[in-house]
C-alpha cells in the first residue's frame, strides 16, 4: 500500500513562453486513488501528457516503477503499464465498442501480422481470449450491452465509460482518468464514483483529474492541487479542502462548481 508506483521529480514543461508545469513533484502509491485538481488551464492534462510521453518534460524526470520514462516511446509506456483516457473523447468512432477494447488488448499479444496472415493457432487463441476479455471489461464498466454498436453512435455517457474500458484493455497498472465525469448528471457521477472504487479494488492504481469537488473528495485517498503549473497542496482530501492556498486558487469559483 505504501510503495510508490509513479514519481514526478521536479517536472517542468515549457511551451515556448508558456510554463505549463513548473517544478512539480509528487508520487502515486500502489493501489491508491490520487485526485489531481486545479482551476482551468492549471496544467492537469499536461501532467497526463508528460507521463504518457505525448510531451517530453523540459526539466526534471518521471519514473514509473523506479525506471525513468524519459525518451521512452509512447506505446512502450502504455505497454509498460500506464494507460489513460482523454478529456476530449478520442475513441475510434468507426469501430464498435468491443473492437475499441480489443484493439487495446492487442498491446500484449505476441502474435502479429505474420501469424495472423497464416492463421497460426497462437493468433487464433489470443484472438478468442482477448475478445472474451474485452467483453468482460465492458461488462465490468457496465456498458456490456453496447458491445456491437459503433463507438460514434453511442450516447455521450457511454462513450466516456468506453474510454475507461479501452484504457483498462491495455492491462495497465496505473490508470489515468482525465475528467471522466465531465458532462455527467449527479446520478451518473455517483455511479462513476462507484466504478472508480471498483477499479481500484480490482488492483489498479488510479490518478484522477476531476473538476467536481464532491466527486474527487469523496473518492480520492489523497489529493494533489496544482495552480498555474505549480503544486500548491498534496494531502488528504479533508485537509486540502481547508488549505488556505487552495481556497485562494479557487476563489470566486464555488466549491462544487463543475
Amino acid at each position: 500500500m505504501s510503495e510508490s508506483i509513479l514519481k514526478l521529480q521536479n517536472a517542468t514543461m515549457q511551451f515556448g513562453g508558456v510554463v505549463a508545469l513548473n517544478d512539480v513533484s509528487f508520487e502515486i502509491k500502489k493501489q491508491e486513488i490520487l485526485g489531481l485538481i486545479g482551476p482551468n488551464g492549471a496544467g492537469k492534462t499536461t501532467v497526463f501528457n508528460v507521463i504518457t510521453g505525448v510531451y517530453q518534460v523540459t526539466k526534471g524526470d518521471i519514473t514509473f516503477e523506479g525506471k525513468s520514462l524519459k525518451g521512452r516511446k509512447r506505446y512502450k509506456i502504455t505497454r509498460g503499464g500506464v494507460a489513460r483516457t482523454f478529456q476530449n473523447i478520442r475513441l475510434w468512432g468507426d469501430m464498435t465498442a468491443l473492437e475499441n477494447v480489443i484493439t487495446a488488448t492487442d498491446t500484449h499479444k505476441r502474435s502479429g501480422l505474420i501469424s495472423g496472415l497464416f492463421g497460426l493457432p497462437i493468433s487464433r487463441r489470443e484472438e478468442k481470449r482477448d475478445k472474451a476479455r474485452a467483453q468482460e471489461l465492458l461488462d465490468f464498466i457496465g456498458i456490456g450491452e453496447y458491445a456491437d454498436r459503433l463507438a460514434k453512435n453511442l450516447p455521450y455517457g457511454v462513450q466516456r465509460r468506453l474510454e475507461i474500458a479501452r484504457a483498462l484493455g491495455t492491462e495497465p497498472k496505473l490508470l489515468l482518468l482525465d475528467e471522466p465525469a465531465a458532462g455527467f448528471n449527479p446520478a451518473e457521477k455517483v455511479e462513476l464514483a462507484k466504478t472508480i472504487r471498483k477499479i481500484r479494488d480490482a488492483g489498479y492504481t488510479v490518478l484522477l483529474i476531476e473538476h467536481d469537488m464532491s466527486l474527487v473528495m469523496g473518492v480520492s485517498d489523497r489529493v494533489v492541487v496544482i495552480d498555474f503549473g505549480q503544486k500548491i497542496a498534496d494531502d488528504l482530501p479533508a485537509k486540502v479542502q481547508n488549505d488556505k492556498r487552495v481556497i485562494e486558487a479557487y476563489l470566486g469559483v464555488p466549491e462544487d462548481a463543475s
Partner: protein, 339 residues
C-alpha cells in the same frame, strides 16, 4: 436506400461454410470466364476486349488492391505508388533481358526490390503526417521516373525492349496475344492479394491499421506500435505494386519511363477512392470501371480524359465514400472479414 455492400455482407454472414465456398467459387468462375465473353460491344475502339481486360483492367485491379492497403486501410496518403510499379517493371526488364531468369523467378525478386524501396522511403517519410507524406511520396515517384529517364544504362528515354514472355507452363504458351492466359495468370495474383488482405484485416494488424487511420495519437497511446504498422502497410502495398510491375513488363514486353508517370499514381488513387476506400470489393469495382472506361470511351477520342476528370468530380460530390463504401453497419462481428 438500397446498399449493395450491406446486402452482400448480409448474405455472406447469414450463410454457412458450404454456401460461402460455393459463393466464392462461383465468383471466381465468373471472373475467370470474363475473357470468354466475346461480343464486339465490349471491344474498345483501339484494342481487343481481351487485351484491355489484361491491361489496364487486371493490372489496375492489382495495383488498386495494393494501394488500398496503404490508403484505405491505414489512411496513409501515397501519391507516388507508381514508383513501386516502376521498380517491379524495371527489375523484370533488366533481369529478363540481361540474365537467363524467367518471369516467375524474377517475380519474387521484383517484389523484394519494391518492398526494399518501400522501406527506404517509409522510414523517413512515415514519421510525417498526412499531406507531407503525400508530397514526399509524390516526389519519390518522380525521382524514380526521372532516374530511369536519365540513366542510359537502363535504356534512358528509350526504355527496355525485347523483354521475354513468361516460360510455357503445362503446355500453355504465353504468346504476346494470348490474352486469356495472361488474364488467368493475373487473376491468380489478384486472388492471392485479396486473400492476403482479408487475412490481415480481421485480426490484430487490421485493427491496428484501422485505429491508426481513425486517430493515430490515440492508437499510439493505447499501445499500438503505430510506426511499425505503418511501415508494414507501406511495404505490403509496395510488394503488390512491385508484383504488378513485373507482370506488366512480362505482358507488354516493352517498358519506358513514359509508362510510369504521376498520372498512373493518380489513376490508381482514383480507382481506390472511386470504388470505395477500404473496401476490397469497392476497390476492385473501381479499378475495373476506371481501367475500362477511358479506353471504352475513346470514341469521344480527344475529350476522354476530360470526361474522366469530370466523372471524378461528379462522383466525389455525389458519393464521396465511393461506389461501395466501407462498412457502416452497426452489427459487425469482429471475427469475420470486414474488408
Amino acid at each position: 436506400m438500397f446498399n449493395l455492400r450491406d446486402w452482400g455482407a448480409g448474405v455472406w454472414e447469414r450463410s454457412g461454410r458450404p454456401v460461402r465456398v460455393l459463393i466464392a467459387l462461383g465468383a471466381i468462375a465468373a471472373a475467370a470466364s470474363l475473357p470468354l465473353l466475346g461480343g464486339t460491344f465490349l471491344n474498345t475502339p483501339i484494342a481487343d476486349y481481351g487485351s484491355v481486360l489484361v491491361f489496364p483492367v487486371a493490372i489496375f485491379v492489382i495495383m488498386a488492391l495494393g494501394l488500398n492497403i496503404v490508403i484505405g486501410k491505414s489512411g496513409l496518403l501515397d501519391l507516388g505508388y507508381v514508383a513501386f510499379f516502376a521498380i517491379g517493371a524495371y527489375t523484370m526488364g533488366i533481369l529478363g533481358t540481361k540474365t537467363g531468369l524467367n518471369s516467375w523467378e524474377i517475380l519474387p525478386i521484383g517484389i523484394a526490390m519494391a518492398m526494399f524501396a518501400g522501406l527506404i522511403l517509409g522510414v523517413p517519410a512515415l514519421r510525417l503526417r498526412g499531406d507531407y507524406l503525400a508530397i514526399i511520396t509524390l516526389g519519390f515517384g518522380e525521382i524514380v521516373r526521372i532516374t530511369a529517364l536519365n540513366l542510359n544504362s537502363i535504356g534512358g528515354a528509350n526504355g527496355i525492349v525485347g523483354i521475354p514472355t513468361p516460360p510455357t507452363i503445362f503446355g500453355l504458351e504465353y504468346t504476346f496475344d494470348n490474352h486469356r492466359l495472361y488474364f488467368w495468370t493475373f487473376l491468380i495474383i489478384i486472388l492471392l492479394t485479396i486473400w492476403m488482405i482479408r487475412r490481415l484485416s480481421v485480426r490484430r494488424a487490421g485493427r491496428a491499421w484501422e485505429s491508426i487511420r481513425q486517430d493515430e495519437d490515440a492508437a499510439e497511446l493505447m499501445g499500438v506500435p503505430t510506426f511499425r504498422y505503418k511501415i508494414w502497410a507501406f511495404v505490403l502495398g509496395a510488394s503488390v505494386g512491385g508484383a504488378a510491375g513485373v507482370l506488366y513488363a512480362s505482358k507488354t514486353l516493352f517498358i519506358s519511363p513514359d509508362n510510369f508517370t504521376l498520372q498512373v499514381s493518380i489513376l490508381i488513387l482514383a480507382c481506390v477512392v472511386f470504388g470505395g476506400m477500404g473496401n476490397i470489393w469497392g476497390v476492385v469495382l473501381g479499378a475495373i470501371i476506371l481501367g475500362y472506361l477511358p479506353d471504352r470511351i475513346r470514341f469521344i477520342s480527344d475529350a476522354r480524359l476530360l470526361v474522366f476528370g469530370a466523372v471524378l468530380v461528379l462522383m466525389m460530390n455525389l458519393r464521396p465514400d465511393g461506389l461501395l463504401p466501407r462498412k457502416k453497419r452497426e452489427k459487425a462481428l469482429p471475427e469475420k472479414g470486414q474488408s
